[in-house]
Amino acid sequence: MINREKTYVNTSFLMLLSIGMGKLALSKEILMSIDKPARYIGHEVNAVIKNPEGLIRFAMCFPDVYEIGMSHLGIQILYDMFNSYEDVWCERVYSPWNDLYPLMKKDHIPLFALESQDPVSDFDFLGITLQYEMCYTNILQVLDLSGIAFYAKDRCENDPIVIAGGPCTYNPEPVAEFFDLVYIGEGETSYRKLIDLYKEHKKVGYDRQKFIREAGKIPGIYAPSCYDVSYNEDGTIREFFPLYDDMPAVIEKEIVTELSDTYYPVKPVVPYIKATQDRVVLEIQRGCIRGCRFCQAGSVYRPIRERDVEKLESFARQMIASTGHEEISLSSLSSSDYPDLDRLCNFLIDEFSDKHINISLPSLRVDAFSLDVMSKVQDVKKSVITFAPEAGSQRMRNVINKGLTDEDILNGCKQAFLGGWTRVKLYFMLGLPYETVEDMEGIAKLSNEIAKLYYDTIPKEKRVGKVNIVSSTSFFVPKPFTPFQWAKMATMDEFRMKAKVVNDAMKRQLNYKSIRYNWHAADVSVLEGVFARGDRKLSKVLVRAYEKGCMFDAWTESFRFEPWVEAFEEEGIDPAFYYNRERPLDEVLPWDFIDIGVTRKFLEREYENAKQQKVTPNCRMKCSGCGAARFHGGVCYESKA
């Protein structure tokens, strides 16, 4: 007979039962009627369950669907950090997908956090990460479903404190009025101070506005309601100023000086459904030495800081053991610049390849070393060689300071072809400053040259079918804190024309049949351009767009442009003012009150260098005095070769 006494039960189960958990916020009827109900039930392996009594409750929201949000390393780091605090319980919140949203609206079901399934409105904090501009209407969806007023000024005393974080907070102004607080910079450093301050205030007669104002004095934390903006007649900013003398006029970004000594999520939550990143991710370094002039990440995360390779090796082992994932991957802006890359790759291969764990190595420069590593960890026939030349001509690559030459690309391809690869992916941008028709046509020419190189390199009898080249262009969106923050962005019609120029040029190429060309949608890019460099006047456009049903705008299948056009019209706001206008160097920019370390002077100089097509060396070759050295860490303190 079956012996049932031997059943072992995980002890966290008892914990769940003891605090009355195991309940679900959504009814069976609803869960059975929507797509992927597993998005909403929590209960995953490594999800943190605590007894909520007496704890500060922090709801950490990634305002997109579960599979996207669960794949984000930054959130995993903060989840781990908060839950390492004994007095805090941090839970996850994601945007309910299009199918669930109307059901929640109709039945007035409040948005809930996954772990406890408790309503977000019961929490002390609601943290929302802003990873891309096209999630801004999703912020409103989250607030709406949580029963929290859109505008911070309309909130009740006991509403959660709504705080933003993530890369878009380097210009928080278009969404600033939706947030009580905005955390600018890396999350590992100031949250403890914020929680302590909150507890202090809770002890002695909590007053929401008083707390917000005090919190705004913590390094890196910005309290939008304590600042005001005046405008010139032409709509540009006259002045941005604190309302009170004791508030800082400038907010300095927060940064982890010693990356090796900080939090790392060695027990990340393991989703049931397949997340976009269904694997262990090792963040090997933060920041970038390269200084590409279009790249915001390369600027705001300066200076580059590495994680100690030994620590990474230990993280890798622990994380594979704690998740059971079958893939491990590296994360950084440019992995080839990691000093211990050899050692780390060899470690991963030695440690994991015979344990049926795949190793994926994105953002590696294509050279002899990386090809050798890749041939060891993946099926050459199936894998793709990727380059991001960003521009089609050397001239243009000098403008954007992309230190990748045609020669590098062709050499890399040649070695790859000889090694058996037949698939190449190329990423470019269209609409870069000072772009000419020749630069655009260069994209087609380079694609063709690579195809030709394949046929020249590999003799007929050794070929397996055609070489397969996929070239994609995205439209360039100028971002704050880059040398192009003053630049004029192209219009939708211009973008379409540019894509046509490339497409026509492609058709003229000899090896056209081996090349596929894709380009992005121009309308989303334009909106992104508006919000990236927007100001506070845009918040009402966002509210209107949301009321017209705009949500999940980053998803092609749910993006609709017309309601956006209407929203701008109805609010009397001309989008071209924000994206299609060259800003004079003396204009007050909405994000000028933020200090990222990199100085405005450096950015101006780089804008001039771009115009002159002058290349600026990377941080390891020579320091260019960008200003980030004042953080006393990273590459600025290495001895230069």
Binding site: I2, T7, Y8, Y272, S322, G324, E326
Partner: protein, 231 residues
């Protein structure tokens, strides 16, 4: 060598689909350090076989997975290691070595036992009478619908046991299951009660799979009884 695991799937996890349960087990085996065998080739995968998919929303106490091992582990060690890294809603209750020549979990299922729990009482005698009536009949022809086809089948010979408790809340049935003559418990309920069923909020009738059975010497025995503990 092949082992068979019996597991339950309850609570919130009834909303996890079959493919995700398979993924869950693959990761679970790696976390628990179970020495699972992999297939050959450039993208090797764990050699696993599950009993037929449990419908979304249904609880079960009797699901099975067969897995090929490269070396033996003691049943009690394996169960302990698995429990340590499991979510409570999927609890593995046995880990048994299968005989050498044994049909895999998927193919061996011939019948399944279900428990149907009604949200409120249906008069005890009514329910028992409906069960008795059903069993007395020689044939019960119903329309079986699948995604594409509709056909008439006689389900009477496919119902092996049907019992109602006298409190009028629970019906237990043992019915044909698996790749041939698979029928759903709902089909039997419909045949028993017809329109009367709609008096109950059908969404709230809870059906639970209790166990799955295979044929051995013309007798139905639980899939759990095939293997032996590794001690």
């Amino acid at each position: 060598m092949k082992v068979r695991l019996r597991f339950s799937k309850t609570g919130a996890l009834v909303y996890i689909g079959h493919l995700d349960v398979m993924r869950y087990f693959q990761k679970l085996f790696r976390r628990a350090g179970i020495p699972v065998a992999y297939s050959e080739g450039f993208s090797p995968h764990q050699i696993l076989s599950f009993t037929p998919p449990l419908p979304l929303g249904m609880e079960s106490e009797g699901e099975y997975a067969d897995v090929e091992l490269v070396e033996p582990v003691l049943s009690k060690d394996a169960l302990y290691r698995i429990a340590e890294t499991s979510v409570p809603e999927i609890t593995v209750t046995s880990f048994r070595l299968l005989p050498d020549r044994c049909e895999n979990a998927m193919a061996s299922v011939k019948a399944a036992r279900y428990e149907v729990i009604f949200p409120k009482e249906m008069s005890g005698s009514d329910m028992t009478a409906a069960a008795d009536d059903f069993l007395k009949k020689d044939s019960v022809v119903v329309l079986k619908k699948s995604k594409k086809t509709e056909k008439e089948i006689d389900i009477r010979p496919l119902v092996y046991e049907l019992k109602a408790d006298d409190k009028g809340r629970v019906i237990s049935m043992l019915i044909s299951s698996g790749s041939v003559d698979n029928i759903k418990p709902e089909l039997v309920l419909n045949a028993m009660f017809g329109d009367k069923l709609t008096e109950f909020d059908t969404g709230n009738i809870m059906i639970k799979r209790i166990d799955q059975f295979t044929l051995a010497d013309d007798k139905l025995i639980s899939l759990d009884e095939i293997g032996t503990d590794i001690t």
